[in-house]
Amino acid sequence: MKALMAFLAGLVFGVGLLVSGMTDPGKVIGFLDVAGAWDPSLAFVMGGAVLIGFFAFRLAGRRAKTFFGGVLHLPNNRDIDKRLVAGSVVFGVGWGLAGFCPGPALVSFASGQAKAAIFVAAMLAGMLIYTAADRLIHEPRRRARQSG
């Protein structure tokens, strides 16, 4: 049941990305390039998504459980730290370079775009590198802090 709901959510998400124009890197860069011929479309994507999301998360915030009685995993980290900002800046540079962010890249890859496949492979490698580095560098530090 959970997997079916997640599949349907992913499907609607992907259709939304295709309809919105987010899967076209030219359109994404046309939005980010405010100094050139500016295409404001992506502000409408964000506006439409947040309009619905605002009410959905307000409802979720008032509930203790999901509609099926499951656990609501809402983020509780509120820190605005170096990690958050530095990571987001690195992501933004990659986004501005190719015009792909993770969701649209996956959908574009599934549409049979060879260039999106290259991007997705590199993105997964980046996530893997991060995970490995996190285990090597941060995990021993966390353990040291706990025992010390």
Partner: protein, 138 residues
Amino acid sequence: MTIDWTHFTPWTSLAGGVLIGIAAAMLVLLNGRIAGVSGIVGGLFTPRHGEIAWRLAFIAGLLAAPVLISGSMPRIDASFGTLVVAGLLVGVGTSYGSGCTSGHGVCGLSRLSPRSLAATAAFMVAGIATAFVVRHLA
């Protein structure tokens, strides 16, 4: 500032955004999860019990979307090298910053989270600066 009227698609972009919002609403209200694509994919690299099936199902849904509808013809100008560098930066950056345009952007802003607003401002500014350098200085 000049507007690119030929590519400007306010209504379809708004409609697509509403669908993305509905998908995020479905995932949080039915599954109790945040629709953040980088987080959902990245979580597969540190697999935990009961944390794999729903992630794979969501990704399968994303990948199945082009079966239902074809988007506009994508304009991908980036070279092979740029795509590799950009992909690596997006993979590392979203992992380190705990989110991307969907997790921090859509879900975080919907939750009025100051942390996600800071992340969204950071990647927007970095994206705009990068696009400026690539389009006007390089």
